[in-house]
């Protein structure tokens, strides 16, 4: 009982903190950049990270197994991964405000918002582990997979942002797309940020060359960040798939079964392998790679949710229970 209360409190704290962080982000964007506010938002993200860690740890102690056995827990872990990835550049001395936080922070809150919303309340309580899941590999395999999903999602979102900036050449269209993307999907929050960053610059400068230069720089930054984050995610995905294969050889008697979830993980792997290959050739340009990475965004979601929604294959546990 204590654990569930504690978990409840932590969930609420982290959620409200991230909401405040998002508000600060918006203020920074729309009004003006206030350095103090921005710094405090960074500190708030650290607190959030600790809160989500707390949630996962209480669940771990409560249930006695690694908290990755159902959808609620894996989404919580995804949110945690987003905040971890958010922290990585900070640890590595990227002190200045970067584009990357604009992706990770909203991603973290939307994942968490989705989890804690009423939609999934019936699967909040931790479930028992079926025999096949009782293995040390669970920790390695699932955590690596979710981490890789988080990193790849961030990377592909950066690519989506790049595409938006590349294709929206006109100022007017820019402003329209602002309000549109507000309505369409909250996940495109990051785009709005870039758009606004760019708008600010446009307001300040009237010279076309400066405008183009800034845009070029922004695109280049986005391109480099997305490539770097995707290669990190690809690394995790490789480890995740391979550890899954080793586990499958222990539990099911075969390291590869062409189970739908496995197959889709492999498709994701292939898509991002193609992405990394296109990056080796300068002729293809960042735009085409970005299109590929954006396709990857959809494929990750198919791999994460879609396969489970169909309810087929050996990975049917740890997801929506369709009774």
């Amino acid at each position: 009982m204590i654990f569930s209360t504690l978990e409840h409190i932590l969930t609420h704290i982290s959620f409200s903190i991230v909401s405040i962080v998002i508000t600060i982000f918006f203020m920074t964007l729309f009004v003006h950049e206030i350095v103090g506010l921005y710094n405090s938002s960074e500190r708030a993200m650290i607190v959030t990270l600790f809160c989500i860690t707390g949630i996962l740890v209480t669940r771990w102690i409560d249930s006695g197994h690694f908290p990755l056995s159902n959808l609620y827990e894996s989404l919580m872990f995804l949110s945690w991964s987003f905040s971890i990835i958010h922290m990585v550049p900070k640890i590595r001395n990227h002190k200045k405000k970067n584009l990357f936080s604009a992706i990770t922070a909203p991603s973290a809150i939307f994942t968490q918002g989705f989890v804690t919303s009423g939609l999934l309340t019936e699967m909040h309580q931790s479930t028992i582990l079926v025999p096949a899941l009782q293995s040390q590999w669970l920790m390695m395999h699932v955590s690596m997979m979710v981490l890789s999903y988080a990193a790849l999602l961030c990377g592909s979102l950066l690519s989506v942002a790049l595409l938006v900036i590349t294709f929206r050449k006109n100022m007017e269209i820019f402003c329209q797309s602002d309000s549109l993307s507000f309505l369409i999907r909250p996940i495109f929050f990051d785009k709005i940020q870039y758009v606004n960053e760019k708008n600010n610059v446009l307001r300040n400068t009237c010279f076309l060359s400066v405008q183009n230069y800034h845009r070029y720089q922004l695109i280049q930054q986005l391109d480099r960040w997305s490539c770097r984050v995707i290669s990190l995610g690809f690394l995790f995905l490789t480890i995740g798939i391979l550890s899954g294969a080793v586990w499958a050889n222990e539990a099911w008697g075969s390291y590869w079964n062409w189970d739908p979830k496995e197959t889709w993980a492999f498709i994701t792997w292939t898509i991002f392998a193609i992405y990394l290959h296109t990056r080796t050739n300068n002729n293809w340009g960042s735009k085409n790679s970005a299109i590929l990475a954006s396709t990857g965004f959809l494929i990750i979601w198919i791999c994460y949710f879609g396969v489970n929604l169909l309810g087929i294959g050996l990975h049917s546990y740890g997801s929506f229970t369709l009774n």
């Binding site: 990227h94 028992i128 025999p131 490539c227 391979l242 080793v246 390291y255 197959t263 292939t270 290959h277």
Partner: protein, 592 residues
Amino acid sequence: METPTRRWRCLRNLVVLGACPPNVRSYNAMISGLWNSGERMKPLMMVLDMVNKGVDPDEITYNATRSDSNGSVVAPHNSSTTGKIVLTGKAHEQSFVNGVLKPYIDLSSPIPFTLHSFNSSSPTHLQHEDVETLVEKSDSVQLLKLLKKVPKRVLGVLSNLSLAIGEMGSVAALMALGTVIEQGETPDFYFEKYPEENPVFGFFTWRWVLGLGFDHMFSSPIFLGLLVLLAASLMACTYMTQIPLVKVARRWNYLNTSESIRKQEFNDSLPRASVRDLGVILMGAGYEVFLKGPSLYAFKGLAGRFAPIGVHLAMLLIMAGGTLSATGSFRGSVTVPQGLNFVMGDVLNPIGFLSTPTQDFNTEVHVNRFYMDYYDSGEVSQFHTDLSLFDLNGKEVTRKTISVNDPLRYGGITIYQTDWSISALQILRDDEGPFNLPMAPLKLSGDKKLFGTFLPVGNTDSPTVKGISMLARDLQSIVLYDQEGKFVGIRRPNSKLPIDINGMKIIILDAIGSTGLDLKTDPGVPIVYAGFGSLMLTTCISFLSHSQVWALQDGTTVVVGGKSNRAKIEFPEEMNRLLDRVPELAQISQTK
């Protein structure tokens, strides 16, 4: 040291005199050397010389490491590339085609040499086609040369990145299709699901599914063929592209002009600094530093350049292991009631043509006990089977309690716990017995299992025989119903607690479970695991970035340039941090 120009002259004279046969390789080396040393006319003349001697222009390659400043040659971004010289008569045309650098020879401009060996009427407008036809005419030996060229051509085509990407994309698409189309159903299913009258997307009918083998996608010839093609591409790419790239990367090349340093992705200049101080600081940051006079070259993370080769080799290893698994395995599954035994060889079925049984197949497996663990809530937490293995002489060779995730391995054979059922109930009826009642699985929707048995009461020969029904979900508890189908009670096996049904006393002694075992031998596993290990390792190393730094002491200023193949975000920041630490030379030393 012999200068390229001098060597060229010597060699050319030898060739002209007929003393030296036209050796394509030495020519190519000469051309590369001359080209890299900045010569433009001489290598081109050499090309024509070679064509005169009957060498196919397609075989003439060069290795360009510097771009031409006057713009007549388009150099790629990489500092080095291998390419092919193609003779074309078209002047001032973009010559960077399909990633292959094609410097043209501007034959329309006056070149101070004669083309007397060519029987062409207008040498100044020599076209590529002319050269080709000339070469073709020259000898029938061409056929042999053509045959020799075939493997190289094939390699060249296979190592094409676009092709490899196309293959990967097709594999991904087919895999996606394989998860959408139901796999391994009967043809009737596909007739119904993909009818000809109402095709999916207007064209996709069962003829497609069955004709292309999409009902068993992952073993269909198309899919396997694509995988083989992909493997071939992997090999070709490793051989043709990656290994040469590493050779180039291993060369420590100093950049001797500040212009070339300033062309790097990252560049900066430090006034009043010493290149030696920079070297020390770079060394402290983990760089390998090389100093020669005023020039400095430093690099770090060379492993990041090698690792992609390792990734490709690991993929090949996994594919090889997978092939071996598919051709040399044995598989089988068996349901054994507790207390019985079986011989491994009877269960294992060969999968492919390489499957050969071993001595260990004669081992006999005895199921000592099958039991389950339960959670407090009553749900099953784990299945256990206590197995003993006996060799031909009846000697116990090993004994182990297996469970899901904890198989038994013996002599290359692995026994997995995969399934379970209840085989029989042992009961006492009015203290008679014990009787064994066989349990039958009852069909239920969903994953839950249910087993049932029936104890006839009264006249067993009558067609309307009635009796007591006993149902069990697991080995924990048995639910009993009387002749009328009314619920009587629940008993646990081993509880020895009798239950009275219409005057009949029944004691349930035991529920005998049977264990579902999967047996497997797989000679591919060690290879696949080796591939897994190296793939993980090399992917991790691939994340490292190969960073190179060049510096040149230019008076009191140090010009620094650098590039990194992956860490394009971190590298400039790291460099800035390092350069900030380079001490400024004191005023005194400058005035001295």
